[in-house]
Symmetry: C2
Subunit: 164 residues, 2 copies
């Protein structure tokens, strides 16, 4: 991150019975932010916590295509996977998300990319869980810290550098 940038705050909100909504502003144009979410070359540079190394095993970015990332870190190796449901560059991305440790527990994730003008973009994610218990379990898992860290890595990538 350059000295000129501030780190924007991530907000994480439980909504309704089964949703988590997050919001975060990035100091980069919308096309560039969207690209970081759909380019398998870029994902390993920002997806996950700093202590993890993420490998993109599959990333078939089309409606019905599958993705699978493996993160190696201090607490072992974790695989995450899902299926793309909607791809509308540079505005919307929708996919399923599951962790291999809870197979068949599928979250629907929607990301919206809003052009704020002045080269800034707001990313809003909505995660829809099957049950309130699964939603609350995710909130209790430390996802907020993990996502904050991941988005700080994305800040660095978007600024032209990389923390890795």
């Amino acid at each position: 991150m350059t000295d000129q940038q501030q780190t924007h705050r991530l907000t994480v909100t439980a909504e309704g019975d089964r949703e988590i909504v997050t919001e975060r502003v990035f100091d980069a144009p919308r096309e560039k932010v969207f690209q970081a979410f759909v380019d398998p070359e870029l994902v390993p540079h920002w997806w996950g916590r700093r202590a993890d190394t993420t490998t993109v095993e599959k990333m078939d970015v089309r409606v019905g295509g599958d993705w699978r990332f493996v993160s190696e870190g201090p607490d072992g190796s974790h695989a995450f996977y899902g299926t793309y449901r909607a791809i509308d560059p540079p505005e919307k991305l929708e996919q399923t998300f599951a962790w291999e440790g809870m197979p068949g527990h599928v979250v629907v994730e929607r990301a919206e990319f809003e052009d704020l003008g002045g080269g800034r973009t707001k990313v809003t994610t909505q995660s829809l869980f099957d049950t309130t218990e699964e939603r609350d379990g995710m909130l209790a898992s430390g996802m907020e810290g993990g996502q904050s860290e991941s988005y700080e890595r994305l800040d660095a990538l978007l600024a032209g550098g990389s923390e890795d």
Copy 2:
């Protein structure tokens, strides 16, 4: 089906905002009914409508294992797939279900097998959809007729014959 058997009625009920519950009695012991749901040799004999031919492409019956069936019929070829979430013979089976035509739209299906005594078994299924719209779409799709037909084929299989 033998002359001695009656065909039991399938009940299909919308419950809450996102569920479909079905109930059906079979004239067979619980172990035998459960087995028909988890044996890849048996599934093609009863799964789906009479006009369809179902091929089991994958059926890895363990928690976290995947299944994939392809049905060929008058309206083309349709693939269905999912992941087993819980297997508790002969009482409970839980898996995800998706149709390739709506990738990433995942239903959680639970089947419970109740021993009614006298060699009869009640199968109750609960299907949990992401949204009310998806649940109502399934109800409108003719699933009731399809499941009735499939269960009549299962009657025949359990009676020792096969309609195929």
